[in-house]
Symmetry: D2
Subunit: 373 residues, 4 copies
Amino acid sequence: MRRVRLGMVGGGEGAFIGAVHRMAARLDDRYELLAGALSSDPQRAAASAAAIGLPRSYDDYREMARVEASRADGIEAVAIVTPNHLHAPIATAFLEAGIHVICDKPLAVSLDEGEALAKLARDKNRVFAVTYTYTGYPLVRHARALVRNGALGDIRVVQVEYAQDWLSMPVETQANRQAAWRTDPALAGPAGCLGDIGTHAYQLAEYVTGMRPSQLSAEATTFVPGRRVDDHVQAMLRYANGARGMLWASQVAAGEENALRLRVYGTKAGLMFDQQAPNELWFTPVGGASERITRGRVQSPEALRATRVPAGHPEGYIEAFAQVYADAAGCIALGTTQGDEWLTTVEDGVAGLRFVEAVLRSSAGDGEWVGVE
Amino acid sequence: MRRVRLGMVGGGEGAFIGAVHRMAARLDDRYELLAGALSSDPQRAAASAAAIGLPRSYDDYREMARVEASRADGIEAVAIVTPNHLHAPIATAFLEAGIHVICDKPLAVSLDEGEALAKLARDKNRVFAVTYTYTGYPLVRHARALVRNGALGDIRVVQVEYAQDWLSMPVETQANRQAAWRTDPALAGPAGCLGDIGTHAYQLAEYVTGMRPSQLSAEATTFVPGRRVDDHVQAMLRYANGARGMLWASQVAAGEENALRLRVYGTKAGLMFDQQAPNELWFTPVGGASERITRGRVQSPEALRATRVPAGHPEGYIEAFAQVYADAAGCIALGTTQGDEWLTTVEDGVAGLRFVEAVLRSSAGDGEWVGVE
Amino acid sequence: MRRVRLGMVGGGEGAFIGAVHRMAARLDDRYELLAGALSSDPQRAAASAAAIGLPRSYDDYREMARVEASRADGIEAVAIVTPNHLHAPIATAFLEAGIHVICDKPLAVSLDEGEALAKLARDKNRVFAVTYTYTGYPLVRHARALVRNGALGDIRVVQVEYAQDWLSMPVETQANRQAAWRTDPALAGPAGCLGDIGTHAYQLAEYVTGMRPSQLSAEATTFVPGRRVDDHVQAMLRYANGARGMLWASQVAAGEENALRLRVYGTKAGLMFDQQAPNELWFTPVGGASERITRGRVQSPEALRATRVPAGHPEGYIEAFAQVYADAAGCIALGTTQGDEWLTTVEDGVAGLRFVEAVLRSSAGDGEWVGVE
Amino acid sequence: MRRVRLGMVGGGEGAFIGAVHRMAARLDDRYELLAGALSSDPQRAAASAAAIGLPRSYDDYREMARVEASRADGIEAVAIVTPNHLHAPIATAFLEAGIHVICDKPLAVSLDEGEALAKLARDKNRVFAVTYTYTGYPLVRHARALVRNGALGDIRVVQVEYAQDWLSMPVETQANRQAAWRTDPALAGPAGCLGDIGTHAYQLAEYVTGMRPSQLSAEATTFVPGRRVDDHVQAMLRYANGARGMLWASQVAAGEENALRLRVYGTKAGLMFDQQAPNELWFTPVGGASERITRGRVQSPEALRATRVPAGHPEGYIEAFAQVYADAAGCIALGTTQGDEWLTTVEDGVAGLRFVEAVLRSSAGDGEWVGVE
């Protein structure tokens, strides 16, 4: 099994998500990390590269794209793990150079930017994966398979939520680097909690149900005084088939750690998934007993292909992340995402930006119902 | 400890909630059930009375109110457990006769009816308890005490939901008596799921937080074809202090049994209560470890006075119901609800009707924000 | 439905279990409590009787047995809720008087005493219920039905445990009345934790599996200095069919409240019941997904007949206790326990004493294997 | 951070644990896998090496030890992932060649073999890690820190169990390779379930409590007809400080997946860890509320150093395994295990063999109490 030659932009010392991307790339041994522009600060870029034993370090991502594209042994794909405002320019540079892209979410800081990226990826015929991590969980995939197989019947209700408490206080003023950029509109874009975790919730619901809402009514709120972006979002959803739903995302939900939870109710049965207990999925028919489906005992091929160790040996967040990387490696090897509907791509990234834009529009309109797609 | 002389209207053979009221009245031995008009059908009334060994049976509640009021050993209080549309006329008859009232919720089928009842209870100076059962749980009371004591800080977010699946199918057309009257607007009023369980969710949130929303945006939906009332409600809430919230009630949530769950998040800590696991309450400070507070180990006097058996010996729904009855007995003995803020009364019943009215108004206005109180 | 005329011995003011027995007797309205000798202290007996509005109060249980037996409207059954050492003399007095007995466990303080009681009950042809409370849970009965129906296959392993922490400290020296008599061999008998909760664990395992061990190897330990009875028991079990098991009971298990838990594993499936979450039962086939069976959705008639309110409306310890009383009422009405195999009787009480005796014998023999039945 | 040059013996195609070891070695990027004798079948060894892109493949581990020891860029450490009977000869060959060892458990198939390995490792002054995977969980380390810090007080009771169901049927006769070697005494040694998972349970209890039992009374049982090793073990434990305990391990516990659970009770508090939910640890003081301690919010340095991602982002089995590898890498870099008491070593492997030997001895003696250490 050939390893994909990988580069990385962002993810220098002190960054959280860059290290996670590298673990994810490493776990299944489908990548070799060969080059990087780990920081926009050249000294930090060099030091970070040395610390992780990176073969080729660049000061500037544009130079990296140019040089790597010209080498016979240059990188085939780049992982973009910078603050949000740089996703689009960096992805553009690498796509232009013919290099596949694996990009963190949200895809960009505006819908226009996102749509341009999607068009460019199509034009250049490059793989463009967006790391909606939670879609990599085996039981999320099993849930999707259950919906597709009709085990739930027609879907009536979708309840999705993502609650954290780490922004309950104004930590962005207290030397918390993660908080600082995520609450700075110049770096994170106009959406705070909405972009950071609301998009995850939105995508998870779509991934499992196969449906995106046609309309939403929403309110984005900022609780912490002085904060420049929203830290709380609530929304009601309407689907084209008549289903209804609610979406809640908060970074000021005291006591919550990383509580992404999806519940889907159909005419025949309901299911529940909580990413904090990702080795179980609950399935309950109308009037019946709940079934606790565990990762690794499940036989749907979609879940099994995303599973590394047997039932009872818990897998977690890094494994889910690794699955997104493994799926991307498969697509990169084939040169196309056609045929791998399990990988979230630039199109899903654009859908996330449409959701962000719709929430901000509805919220500005005092919660009026607005179209989403 | 003197027992309160109690009568009952409704609750004949085959009724669900009447039997529960009787168990609740019996458990703590604070009542003697002496008289009843258990059914509007005289034969069924008599047979039902005989089956439970009721001393005095009446064919008609008006006659019962008149006769009992005139007896030296007549009932002091009446429990009303009929379909909703009869709550107001029956309560009126007994209040007029000077008899205290314990009434199931929703209080009435319109806000006007409810307000008239509240006025009458005040004018007659009678105790008027409304059986919001879930307020009788010791840990609900402990949660209320925690909020009052400031353990949560300022409240920012309220999430309350009540999900069931027993109306997922059109069972009202299939000889299910409970479903039949609850989905008949002539008997249940204009609100279906909204009145039946939405009001419970609304009241529980108020009971614990001490806050009612100032505005809401809502949508009531009917999923089951042919059903004449709503079976699903979703709402967003705004509170005067800037807090935000969501309320969801559904009787078509496949797989859910009786999932009433409240989460409250403040600036300092959050709490969670699920009535399906009523012997535990979760309390978590920002950034800290969750504490699983169990009934019976808790020392707040409000929780202890609602507790019968030690920690680890589960109490449940009947005990919560009994607590409402026990509290009402205490008030009846004193002839006033003044001073027992732990008992839900006709004022809470009216608040529930205001909520119902606001949801229907907002829903008719395509989810526009409307005032509640 | 006729009410059984009931008397009570023990259960005066400050007693825990007497009040629970009265709630249990009251809940389903199958009893009238008419007479009692609530305390061996005449003043306390009278005051306790007055406090609960008891019609007839006696200073002495022997007089009570004699007088009640002679009245046309005398009690039909007596509930015995005294410390253990009085169970046998009191039960003997009432049986001799032709009165049915409902007795707390352990049945007596020696196996000889217990066997004599069993013989007397047979000779007098009286109902003799022993309140193994936990057998009253609907899902315990459903578990029993599952085993009987062969859903587990042949049973291989039984794991039962009962852990508490309330005797972690020497509270018997600190004005804790419950602790004082339970740790006094003159009142509780030679077994402490073993008799108090070990017998519950032992009986629960038998009730569900239908099997009693043929041999056991055990060790009873006293952890708290100065304590006069055991506060911790561990045992290994051998069954006649080759099954193996373990039993653990402790009153010094720091942090545990009332953790009675049973797990049974067969050749086809396993089940788990935890009395602290008595509204659910876990059933898992070999290699399969766990099914969470909830009280009230279950269709086995044995579980349904012990159920009062629908699924999702939790029942608890008092309801389980009430079920034992309800079953006893049914037997008393018929004058026999023949045909109600769901009620635990004096024979089960004797089996508990055999278990106690075997554990003490094995423990004295350094854990040697000893025969049980 | 320099990577350790690693070799592997065993772990060819179709092996389960070899692939896990490789993921564990890869996750934290502390190793490069450079050489291997992946199978005793030369063709399979070569094919397996090619499939994973291994630089240097050997037909025979002896040759591998000799050649690698002679290369300047030869491996520094070898991972041994063969069936149990080969652990000792392979480890001996590499130790003799001066190469550090990372070996799966059980360490060997007899206590003599194990003690000889321990002596050789000391003589050669080589690191010898034994992969007791579950000691790598951050919350296991936090539990150990809690015990050391005295948060539990003096330990009174240890309850440890490890239950699986995958050997409920005679799968070893049905082309299940994992089952085949694990139930063949020639390959697995005289202990089946006892060696495979009983040793994990035993070691986990010691790791957290810091205590090994002084005596045990045990019974090993074989339930599946025709099976040549035990598939079920039960034991009672006595500790030198007077504590008592029970250990249960079963591979025929229908419905259980990989249920390794430890409970420790002290004079002040108790704790509970279940490896199937490894992101939480329960801590409860006598008479108090349970605290749910979650990985990543915990501040003990021992837990934090074993943590990769923040609270709420679950880690699992592979991460725990990786931690053992990371700790071993740290020791190998220093050339000693002195000072890293968090790594389980050959001494722990020997202790496991002493436990196995004691259980078999007690079981042969009808459960007599035997000395362990």
